[in-house]
């Protein structure tokens, strides 16, 4: 099979399985509403906290109120895009290896990673994050009188895509640890918590944490780095974005592949 027809096949399957994901939404309406409600409360509180802080001070770490809301909103976009496609990684880290249920992804005529992820394509929470993120970005952008250049407009979707890939890579990496440790939920949860830091300007954190968020768990590249570029036109670290994305994805895939070979030696 040529690479082209393979890609076409996966695209067709993704389209179909996306439909299955949406269909699931109607079957589990209450789940969806609870999830959506909890998510809106969370983002509402975040925005309110930011608002409260800015009642006391006009500028935080060199960022104005609307700039921080822009950053908060933008950070939701790659997170949402990632959420649409890789939510099943939580199941891998939580129980699939532990309960010996992972095997089924190895006996299907598609790549095991695709098989795993496609069990939960188009997670509704992802749509929520995308919509709310876009709304916050639009609202704060209009208050900022943001005037993006053509290049910035062209790059913005790529920033979201790369940011989503970074989120996916970190999740894949920590979920794959479960092949060695049977369950890796605490580690994956911790990494997810760390990613929350990037909803706010990195300037307010200690340099150590800043370095960690930039070069170890490179969540800074999902929102802070591209937002700095979009808001100020200052390229800064943004040139590193493709490199960091490629590196994170390559590392995560390598760990995943190694994990697949380790998986069978535990006798589970």
């Amino acid at each position: 099979m040529s690479a082209w027809s393979t890609a076409a096949r996966y695209a067709r399957l993704s389209w179909f399985l996306g439909g299955v994901g949406l269909h699931r939404l109607t079957a589990y309406r209450l789940d969806f509403l609870l999830g959506a409600g909890a998510f809106l409360v969370r983002v509402g509180v975040q925005t309110a906290v930011v608002g409260l802080v800015f009642r006391q001070v006009p500028v935080v770490g060199g960022w104005s109120y609307h700039e921080v809301v822009f950053l908060l909103g933008f950070s939701l976009l790659p997170r949402g895009l990632d959420h649409l496609f890789t939510d099943q990684l939580w199941e891998l880290s939580r129980k699939l290896v532990q309960r010996g249920e992972f095997y089924r992804h190895l006996v299907r005529p598609v790549s095991p990673l695709f098989s795993l992820l496609s069990e939960r394509f188009l997670h509704p929470d992802g749509f929520g994050e995308l919509i709310v993120g876009a709304a916050l970005v639009g609202w704060s952008g209009s208050h900022l009188d943001l005037d993006l250049t053509a290049t910035q407009w062209a790059l913005a979707p790529l920033f979201v895509l790369c940011g989503a890939l970074i989120h996916s890579a970190v999740k894949l990496l920590f979920a794959s640890l479960s092949f060695w440790t049977v369950t890796s939920l605490p580690a994956m949860y911790a990494a997810n918590q760390v990613s929350e830091f990037t909803s706010y300007p990195l300037d307010i954190y200690h340099p150590t944490l800043r370095a960690l968020l930039t070069w170890v768990l490179p969540f800074a590249f999902t929102s802070y780095v591209p937002c700095t570029y979009l808001l100020t036109g200052d390229t800064g670290l943004v040139v590193w974005l493709p490199v960091v994305t490629a590196g994170a994805v390559a590392l995560a895939l390598a760990v995943w592949r190694r994990g697949l070979t380790i998986h069978d030696t535990t006798g589970s």
Partner: protein, 341 residues
């Protein structure tokens, strides 16, 4: 068709020491115990056969199935399914095999069975005529429609097994591996599965490899048996041949003679020394004789001569007894070897 050559699988089990100090120590030192689950097994399973893969507990049956389905890579040796080493070409192999692991579901737990089938149809690129034909077949034989829109996680074990069996055959695989499917509990299901297997065998020449603890399942589905004990194939052939290798056979009879049941037993045991006769319910006499010393002809001739028989039949030997006998003999032989050395 299916070939295993000197197949070995070893697992590393981390050594755990008792107590809190022990578990802390386990965290920092990596000591492993190597367990050999499959110990140099070689066999061939011909295409189109329905083979029961039989072995004592801990003979590595499931591990062998995992290697044949590509889930696990052998530590040494190799196996091939239709010329492919499954663990090297998982996706290619997956197209031509169907799998049921009785303990674990391969269906989408929060979707209905028809939804799961629709997904499988896409994943396996099942042509429309094949898909429709198989669905019609399952409707008739497995009553799949009755499962309706219930999510898989809410199905009973029997219902889920129906769906799992159907799912494993949906894409017309050349080989199906059924590892401990739970079908024996449900007589209707067992009949239906037998029918399905016969159908697939007749129309498509499907090869079936089954492991099961339930002898009734084996007898219902399989025509041949591959008995493995400690890595060696100790019997390969038809289930009938396996049964014929039984060292004890039995005859049950009813008679019209005016004597007490105990007296009848005594007559049999005196006339045929070495034979055990017992009274079973309904006053019938159960005659158990060593097949090595008596032919069934001699036993029956004796009974016909001494009794006015009203009814007489010879049941199939029990597969479990036969297996116990095979494992027992091999164990005795092993012990003798140890003694001699």
């Amino acid at each position: 068709m299916i070939v295993a050559h000197e197949l070995v699988k070893e697992f590393k089990i981390p050594e755990r020491r008792p107590g809190l100090a022990g578990s802390l120590a386990t965290l920092f030192t990596r000591r492993h115990r190597v367990v050999r689950a499959v110990d140099g097994v070689s066999f061939e399973i011909p295409a189109g056969s329905r083979t029961a893969y039989i072995g004592a507990n801990g003979a590595g049956k499931s591990t062998t199935i995992k290697m044949l389905t590509g889930i696990t890579t052998p530590t040494a040796g190799y196996c091939r399914v239709r010329g492919i080493e499954p663990y090297r070409h998982r996706q290619r192999n997956a197209r031509s095999i169907g799998v049921v692991f009785g303990q674990r579901s391969q269906l989408w737990w929060d979707l209905s069975v028809p939804d799961s089938f629709r997904i499988l149809r896409r994943i396996y690129d099942i042509p429309d005529p094949v898909y429709r034909r198989n669905l019609a077949l399952y409707r008739d034989l497995l009553d799949i429609d009755a499962l309706g829109t219930t999510p898989v996680r809410q199905l009973s074990l029997g219902q889920r097994m129906r769906a799992e069996i159907a799912a494993s055959l949906l894409h017309d695989p050349a080989v199906v591996f059924w590892d401990e499917p739970t079908i024996g509990l449900d007589m209707v299901l067992k009949e239906a599965v037998r029918e399905l297997v016969n159908h697939a065998h007749r129309e498509l020449g499907t090869t079936v490899v089954l492991t099961s603890h339930d002898i009734a399942d084996i007898a219902a589905i399989c025509d041949s048996a591959l008995v493995v004990d400690r890595g060696r194939v100790v019997h390969q052939g038809s289930i009938q041949d396996l049964l014929r290798s039984a060292d004890r056979r039995a005859v049950l009879f009813d008679h019209r003679d005016p004597i007490a049941p105990d007296a009848a037993c005594a007559i049999v045991e005196q006339g045929l020394p070495g034979v055990r006769a017992t009274v079973v319910d309904g006053g019938r006499v159960h005659v158990d004789y060593p097949a090595t010393e008596f032919t069934s002809r001699r036993v029956l001739a004796f009974l016909l001569e001494r009794f006015d028989l009203a009814d007489c039949y010879a049941p199939e030997p029990d597969l479990e007894d036969v297996l116990r006998q095979i494992y027992g003999q091999r164990r005795d032989a092993a012990l003798r070897e140890v003694d001699a050395a």
